[in-house]
Symmetry: C2
Subunit: 361 residues, 2 copies
Amino acid sequence: MTKSSSKSALHQSKSTPALPHVNADSIQKIKASRKRQFSDEELKDLLISGNKTALGRGITLVESNQSSHQQRAEKLIESCLPYAHKSIRIGITGVPGVGKSTFIEAFGSLLVKLGKKVAVLAVDPSSSVSHGSIMGDKTRMENLVTEENAFIRPSPSGDSLGGVARKTRESIILCEAAGFDVILIETVGVGQSETTVHSMTDFFLLLKLAGAGDELQGIKRGIIEMADAIVINKADGDNLKAAREARLEFNRALHLYPPKASTWQPKVSLCSALDNTGISEVWEMINEYKKLTKKNEFFEKNRHEQNKFWLLQTINEHLKQRFYQDPQIKKALKDQLTAIENNETTPFAAAKLLLNLHNEL
Amino acid sequence: MTKSSSKSALHQSKSTPALPHVNADSIQKIKASRKRQFSDEELKDLLISGNKTALGRGITLVESNQSSHQQRAEKLIESCLPYAHKSIRIGITGVPGVGKSTFIEAFGSLLVKLGKKVAVLAVDPSSSVSHGSIMGDKTRMENLVTEENAFIRPSPSGDSLGGVARKTRESIILCEAAGFDVILIETVGVGQSETTVHSMTDFFLLLKLAGAGDELQGIKRGIIEMADAIVINKADGDNLKAAREARLEFNRALHLYPPKASTWQPKVSLCSALDNTGISEVWEMINEYKKLTKKNEFFEKNRHEQNKFWLLQTINEHLKQRFYQDPQIKKALKDQLTAIENNETTPFAAAKLLLNLHNEL
């Protein structure tokens, strides 16, 4: 199933470099397992035992639009479910240039050193246009990518945000079943992608740069409202003073928002992925958040709410698709819109007519 | 059809006071026409001729939840459509206490003096709980209510926001067919009601008071984004200085927003309904807006977009209702939510199962 086309979302797998400190035996073993075709049963067992090649293949099934793959993916996910849900899921957002990749490189490497298994996924609806993806330039995570206990997967390409969301949510389950206990989900601020990532994570982190004043201008207010932490990146050298001022301004801004259902008071912190400062503080903060929300049961309650949200969301999208993609409805809708423009009918009368037509189909 | 119950949305009709300057003959005529039952044909003809009793009866049909009334309402609206769409529709919002009623009283009276026919409607989803309605206390519009060329109707009660929206949109058409050329639609900032009113008006006006600093705090950002004008009310006496400062601050805030599709630059102005200052300036501003948007064709384009929005909105709501109100789906949905909580299925697999069940029903 592994394709070598440069357009494949899998290009990072094949390019894992054979660095000197990886011993020759494991290279042979990895190469062998890569070439093998697994039965679905083998795939499941390997995945649950933590095999990254099996995990990659599983996610490829999840991302495939072929119906035979989709059926196999559904079975795989079902058998993985009892092993899943034991991670913390962290959403990371920030505009391009803010240093998401270098932050994830530093943060992920720290977590691996602390004995964690770290999976990095991405939600990038813009890749549906360009067939590129964020994290495509994987050299920006050159250390993390070589870690045995790290797994990096770019955004599934060529899809709607709804499709990417489903695929990412299901990939999370596979990563968790493979024993990954920290899932980082990266996104850029394109359209609704932050809301999507926020709806599938436990903790939502907004990366910012200290700019020249006007910190709050141009930032989508909804994103600040979602953030559990604002981390000001590149707080080093000449930037340090501006970063401290930005921290003050964001702290002030955060106090204007109503308290969160989690009872967590969002925090602003500084870090430098370059100097490797402030990184472990982010992890401490997330642990503090986890402790609080496990105790007051928000953690589990939030995951249930998210499940419910995705269930209803999926149903509503399908109901609409089924209606609007019907050729007869398409034609009638066009006619009714013309009739409305000509003041021959109202939107409500037209809706009634279309719904009746749909019932008769 | 006119009920005398104090809970009726019609209580303002029966309480139109017989003031000294109304001549006895017209009182007799009005009383007679009130008692009469009209045929549907008569109702239509009277309504189109501008008879306010017929208009009130028509709106009562539109607001009724009885299916026989709904059928008659649909026919009435259809026959009114060719006479409609010739007004300017102005949305007016502001928190309770900002002086909406006194502003509308002053603004509406000015328009009547200028030879306009003014209809005042309201969208108040909170009335669905209390069965009350804004403008219930009609003594606050005691002059406007006696004007021959003014028509005041409180919010339809006991309904969802979606229901209120449809009823208000259809009432607008009846008012327009009856020759009302300025339609004022009042709302309070409850939930989505501003967005609803914004989606059915040409011009959206936000009424504000000058407070003690912090003008922008606590105000829903989305509302400022929708506003074509921010009018600072009660800019009189001791308030005048604070009002001028608030104008500065709002002007600054408005410049942070991206330009509007209408190309209109939203304005901030001061007024005092008490001193009757700044009221005619609001009307001049709306005329300026109308001139601009008629010329660049945004006016018509916006109305078409609004029609399309309401068409799709109505369809989507019905599709969801039809699905979720099915007793078998209700039960299966509950079971699936439990299965998700027990990690036995995913939201996406559950959605698929429910959609398949729906197809078989």
